[in-house]
């Protein structure tokens, strides 16, 4: 088997993650670009850690998301970088975000269960949009009359929000407290007033 120097290995892994079409997992790297180079997983992990350090002060960061490693622009640069595109980023309706949050925090969950919590029906359109974006999928059926679909979030969802796992979702504690039945009343709750200011702008795509 061919040998590769640490320097070459770092360059190769770096370039591979940059040019890959999707986040690159350790397996993917070992099976493709590093195939036949007798690089151990441990050595690969070391290289990845080094690269993460290298890029810490840069405009682009090496991050680990659910489906693997990828480079992405620093969060703080977002507002500036967004100027490069005429079109604004899609915005999501509250109905969609609430449905998505429930699926994320309470998965696997049925549509009926989502409706019970939200107090309103969930439109098929929302479920369809979330499925089409690849954020949710049916993972099974609940063994109750009607065998309703059980929904869960996907890796694509986590990748989109730059999360490596569900545990990284914010305010998961609130859900845990809720399950235990002792949520504190002084938890900061946003008032709806802010919501009302969000009038859709003409050039925005509002996704319901």
């Amino acid at each position: 088997m061919a040998k590769i120097s640490d320097e070459q290995l770092k360059q190769l892994v770096e370039a591979a993650i940059f040019v890959a079409d999707k986040p690159a997992s350790e397996e993917f790297l070992l099976e493709t670009v590093l195939e036949g180079l007798s690089v151990s997983r441990k050595r690969l992990k070391e290289v990845l850690a080094l690269l993460q350090l290298d890029y810490q002060p840069r405009g682009i960061q090496l991050v680990k998301v659910a489906s693997g490693y990828r480079f992405q622009s620093q969060d703080s640069l977002g507002p500036w970088l967004a100027k490069m595109w005429q079109e604004q980023a899609p915005r999501y309706s509250r109905a969609m975000l609430e449905t998505l949050s429930l699926i994320a925090y309470r998965q696997p969950i049925t549509r009926g269960e989502i409706e019970d919590v939200r107090g309103v029906s969930v439109s098929s359109h929302i479920i369809k949009s979330l499925s089409e974006r690849g954020w949710i999928k049916v993972v099974g059926h609940k063994e109750v009359p009607g065998r309703p679909s059980l929904y869960a979030t996907t890796k694509t969802f986590l990748d989109y929000f730059s999360l490596s796992g569900l545990a990284e979702l914010p305010s998961i504690e609130a859900f845990e407290k809720l399950d235990e039945g002792h949520i504190s009343d002084n938890d900061s709750i946003e008032l709806p007033q802010t919501e009302f200011d969000m009038q859709p702008q003409a050039d925005e795509k509002q996704i319901h």
């Binding site: 040019v19 977002g78 509250r94 109905a95 939200r118 107090g119 309103v120 730059s162 914010p170 008032l191």
Partner: protein, 269 residues
């Protein structure tokens, strides 16, 4: 329900009716909404729980204290406003109205001694409100975390032009090789069984024989060229010979209709 009837009765022409509705609004300063924004606001509620939460927070109540009488009244005011501007009022809002009315009536009943906190008719609604509040907050949190397209952008790095996709060669299992060999050997055996020894039937020879047999001025039936005693091999040789002759434009084939008998004659000229 009498309350609601009153509101409808005193309703004035749109849109002023919503703003100067002193008769229905206890705290007009809190409920003042610019008329053009009213519809947007009412549509912004994600359902009855959302509306109730809004009312509770607006009055700075604690959910646990849930002043049912007050909240119910305000809730009904909003529901009526929604009806007035002909918002498509979902059944969920009316269902909640019924729930509130029921709680209210139960609260009016004298408390029995042995009743504990869990028998509070508000308990279930309080539980749902708190649960919904958590979901609502989670949705806002989710919306605020950095995400692709809006806050995070992915680099697009080119590979140099000489970098061509690598073609992966198909895997072959030893078993596949063994079975392929077996298949080849079986075919040899099958061939040997039907072997006609020695190879006397040559296509060229048969071509000459057929040319002798056919006539230029009348058709001969296709079947006339085949003889049973030559077996399959004979049929094949004859067939090939005829095809060869047709290809060389020495024979003409005629078939009146599909599947009918084929007739053969010597080609003209």
């Amino acid at each position: 329900m009498a309350e609601r009837a009153d509101i409808i009765a005193i309703q004035q022409p749109l849109p002023l009716a919503f703003i100067n509705g002193e008769a229905v609004m206890e705290k007009p300063e809190d409920l003042y909404i610019p008329p053009e924004a009213l519809e947007v606001i009412l549509e912004a509620f994600e359902g009855p729980l959302d509306l109730l939460l809004y009312l509770i927070r607006k009055q700075k109540f604690e959910i646990v204290d849930l002043p049912v009488a007050q909240i119910t009244r305000q809730y009904m005011e909003y529901v009526d406003l929604m009806k007035d501007i002909k918002l498509e009022l979902a059944g969920e809002y009316l269902l909640m109205a019924a729930i509130l009315a029921e709680i209210k009536s139960r609260m009016l009943l004298p408390k029995r001694e042995e009743e504990n906190e869990e028998d509070d008719p508000r308990a279930e609604l309080i539980r749902r409100l708190r649960e919904y509040e958590v979901v609502k907050a989670a949705a806002l949190d989710l919306d605020s975390i950095p995400r692709e397209e809006r806050d995070i952008f992915l680099p697009k790095v080119q590979v140099t032009e000489d970098c061509q996709p690598q073609r992966m060669l198909p895997p072959v299992a030893m078993q596949e090789l063994v079975l392929a060999m077996q298949a080849a050997m079986q075919r040899v055996k099958a061939f040997e069984h039907h072997h006609i020894t020695p190879e006397t039937l040559s296509t060229r020879e048969r071509m000459s024989a057929i040319l002798d047999q056919v006539k230029a001025d009348e058709f001969t039936s296709f079947s006339a060229f085949f003889t049973a005693d030559e077996g399959k091999a004979g049929v094949v040789v004859t067939f090939l010979a005829i095809l060869e002759l047709v290809k060389e434009s020495l024979l003409e084939l005629v078939q009146a209709e599909p599947f009918s008998d084929i007739h053969i004659k010597l080609a003209d000229g």
